[in-house]
Symmetry: C2
Subunit: 431 residues, 2 copies
Amino acid sequence: MDEQLSRKILAAVDEGFEEQIAFTEELIRFPSLRGEEKPAQDFVHKALVERGYDVRTFRIDEDKIRDHPGFSPVAVDYADAVNVVATHQPRAEKGKSLILNGHMDVVPEGPHDMWEVSPPYEPKRVGDWLYGRGGGDMKAGIAANIFALDALRRIGLQPAARVHVQSVVEEECTGNGALACLVEGYTADAAIIPEPEDEMLVRANCGVLWFEVHVAGHPVHVREAGTGANAIEASFRVIESLKRLTADWNGQKANYPYFAELDHPINFNVGKIEGGDWASTVAAWCKVSCRIAIYPGDDPKERAAEIEAHLAHELADDPFLGNRPPQVTWNGFFARGYVLEEGGDAEAALAEAHRRATASELQSFVTPGYLDARVFVIYAGMPCLVYGPITENIHGFDERVSLSSIKRVTGSIALFIADWCGIEPIEAGDG
Amino acid sequence: MDEQLSRKILAAVDEGFEEQIAFTEELIRFPSLRGEEKPAQDFVHKALVERGYDVRTFRIDEDKIRDHPGFSPVAVDYADAVNVVATHQPRAEKGKSLILNGHMDVVPEGPHDMWEVSPPYEPKRVGDWLYGRGGGDMKAGIAANIFALDALRRIGLQPAARVHVQSVVEEECTGNGALACLVEGYTADAAIIPEPEDEMLVRANCGVLWFEVHVAGHPVHVREAGTGANAIEASFRVIESLKRLTADWNGQKANYPYFAELDHPINFNVGKIEGGDWASTVAAWCKVSCRIAIYPGDDPKERAAEIEAHLAHELADDPFLGNRPPQVTWNGFFARGYVLEEGGDAEAALAEAHRRATASELQSFVTPGYLDARVFVIYAGMPCLVYGPITENIHGFDERVSLSSIKRVTGSIALFIADWCGIEPIEAGDG
């Protein structure tokens, strides 16, 4: 790509940037928590229709994906779980096709009084930061995908290859949203997901398992506390046991390329707990929601069986749990990790686009978190480039995304599209 | 009391027993959980009016009791928190006056699938047992109070002294119900509370403190778990610290008459926990509802301050809690323990009644649980006899009370009334 076109594209990104951030703010205003993504998805559907794309919104059909090896168990109703996919068809297919993917679901914002800059769903710009739940993870990325294409359009150009813009759900709990898109038949020569990755390319990530541990027993009046096992305290012993398993798994990191260098690749998290009914009653039940990572190449089924066997073995002699083993339910992520093999065309194209947009070299890194990229890489053999803006506090209070970083990343994506897909002038009647 | 009258009274208890158990079953059918006692109280009000008593139902007025030294902090709305007090006035005050007290509130029943014999609010008789939440603790006792008086009436007698039948609320969380009755001016020469005490007399009990510990911090995505302190795990450290305090307090038992012989007089309980929002987010907050006992003579204020100082001291160097000390809220019981001094008239009268009704000697014991008796003993200088039927699993699943024991206890109470208050024949126009 010549230097002049490159500069023209970046200038077009700059020109549309205020509109892009306003759009991002609109997205943040939707509290698109799990099960409540539909209004935000409808908003994106409309925005894509207005741009002339062929847009399709479809519900995740559990029956269609249940037997796919990438499926994760579903603990909620999918009645309102819809994906949006916009398709651009060029006049003549000259370049390579592309999927621009992002997820609309956000994680719960927690107690509002812990948000110090602005309430979670009221976006606010302060200096270079845009605050709001889901701003970085990843509504800025969804907007970047759309506005990268808009930038080309602003200078009379469009991709000379098929492009799908996807806004999916379920990235924060199962990955079934991206999976459903794949099962619907959407594939391409590459995919980009602008997740909050500090302007670096994700080389590899962990898989993730979600599970709930349910401890239940017979409560008594606290005056007889010695005779009743407290389910809350028993849950603590379950957690301690799982932390020992986590240490074991971290000890295996040398067997996994890219992960040996990480300090602590396998993170275990107890994210939610609920138990007992009354301060003066020995707790009869306790439920703990857990998340643990697995290495790329690990089979979720085998690792899940290992967790169950570990708990059964370690807790066999527990005074309470020995008689009433904790029940483990797999209620979300049951997902493999992936490795993006080095040296592919797509990566080379992104490196060049990044160099032009940011005047720096593209770095790659390994992240111990889940990414929908595993769907594209493992089950469609596609290169998937996870690369997005600088953020802080994703999943936390005062989540924020860097405005200047959003602009750089949008520029990179726009340049990548032009290079990867090729370009053709827009003519009257192009959609 | 002559043997013949004694036998006549016991026969009258026997005669009314089927009706008494049907009445107890009606009470069990009301899920009179905290804040939901009113329908059950209305039912009792009506039953007492039908018997001709002067009955008064009144709301607990927080403003009237707040400055009383026996007051416990209130965390809920008292709009529907009503006490019922029925008053019997004799034609001529010949004997000693009496309060027959019981509490209508029950503790939460927990998951229904853990109830194996019958759903919690569907009473069921199996052999000598009557099953149901609150049957033993203490709807059988409320019914025993009422039907002991009914037994006298059945043979044409009534107490020759003022008697109040009280059905109170808030016994399971603050003790403010009994306290409100006292503040309204209800006192007498003695009180009986037929709590589930295995047909023994309570010699002394513990005071109780309730508190909630709230831990809050800054969450992060679990991929950065090392940098975010998990509030759920931090709560476990709070609980471990409180268990060390409990061990210290148990070590002080030799200083307290009646408590040195108990194996473990000070029980600490974590009865309820709630924390975090999402499996893949490091938990930002966690709330733990706790209960701990104190010795009779201990000042709740001093013991509460000791708990706060203990946590502040022990957790000062905690990696998470050191910077963000847990917040302790006193949200219920703030109640002293009591000792029933040995050798009083009321105890002697109960011992005699018990001997006649059960053909065995009255035993006394020390219990490490809260009792409303502290209100009568400490703040009104009244002897209060806590003495009630044999039960199992109070506060647990399949709570049950012994039918034959209810009958024996009702007989004891009827004989006690006849002896303590004296008797007079009922005449036309007596209420």
